[in-house]
Amino acid sequence: MAGEHEQHPLFLPLVFVGGLIFGFGLGFSHMAQPEVVLNFLQLEDLGLLFVMFGAAVVTGITFFGIKQFRTKAPLTNAAYGRRLKTLDRNVVLGGGVFGVGWGLSGICPGAAYASLGVGNVVILYGIAGMFVGAYLQGYWRSSRAESGTPASAAD
């Protein structure tokens, strides 16, 4: 992602405002409450479908719509593109591990940050766990890359 560290004076303020709207939405939707997510996963209240797919509809229209009007973003001069990742076995393996964690706890990264914002200090256990997990996989994959095993071209 060339150019994302170019510091237009409005770059960080815009990212902050986007984060504010995102976090407010997670609070308003109750997705910041692990219990609500667990109720959804236990198929007792399917309302959470409207959060995820409602959000995806808005981004879908934005991602595809903006290209009709502009090719490059005003603050970074980067070309508008889709978020595409290589489909490999890591997507399924990682998705499976994430699914176990999500089903056990009812939290995911964005919702956990928002949960802290609504006052749920207990979520710090979950956020600490996420950093531990991210560190473990990074340590493991960095040492594999250095020992000569071809690193997967992830992210």
């Binding site: 995102f22 976090g23 591990v97 056990l104």
Partner: protein, 192 residues
């Protein structure tokens, strides 16, 4: 006559089924979802960056660790901290307004889970889900989202919005696995 009877019977099933599937209504879910999408859209329109929430975990570790896995995110680590702070503060604004009753709307739904506690005029919300579930789940989420190239926002919102095959597969995988695990944990009597 019978066909008409079945037809009317089916029609009256619709509200009953809706109440069964969505016992807390859908308005606050839909509005919250639109706002989540809008937050991503605002950042994307200005910067062309489809922002996800889980890369923050690794990019922030680059401040403390020299491992190559984390250092690769150096160029984006500052704005990811700002994005995450925005999410926390945005949710805090929700807590200050709707959650605390300062602002009300028929479209807003008060919390039906966890515990609402008054702290000097501000209403905070606390989960009752046990800390070990949050921590162990968190560890698996940290591993899984980074290995799997995305989380609920990266794959679920930005990737699905991009009609990305990898994201469709990722979302289907973590959604189905999570449903199975949540059912299993509940069946084992772990609550909350």
């Amino acid at each position: 006559m019978t066909a008409l009877g079945i037809g009317i019977g089916t029609l009256s099933l619709v509200p009953a089924l809706t109440a069964e599937l969505f016992p807390n209504g859908i308005e606050h879910y839909a509005i919250g979802g639109l706002l989540v999408g809008l937050g991503v859209a605002v950042i994307y329109l200005g910067t062309a960056i489809p922002a996800g929430a889980s890369t923050f975990l690794e990019s922030t570790l680059s401040y403390a660790s020299t491992l190559s896995r984390f250092q690769q995110y150096r160029p984006s680590r500052d704005w990811r901290v700002v994005f995450t702070l925005g999410i926390v503060i945005g949710a805090a604004i929700y807590a200050l307004t709707f959650q605390s009753g300062l602002v009300s709307s028929g479209l807003h739904q008060s919390a039906t889970t966890g515990e609402l506690r008054d702290v000097g005029g501000l209403t905070i919300w606390l989960t009752e889900v046990q800390p070990w579930r949050l921590f162990l789940g968190g560890v698996l989420i940290g591993i899984g989202t980074r290995l799997g190239k995305g989380c609920t926002s990266g794959h679920g919102v930005c990737g699905v919005g991009s009609a990305s095959r990898a994201s469709f597969v990722g979302v289907a995988t973590f959604l189905l696995v999570a449903i199975g695990v949540a059912q299993l944990v509940a069946a084992l009597g772990v609550s909350p």
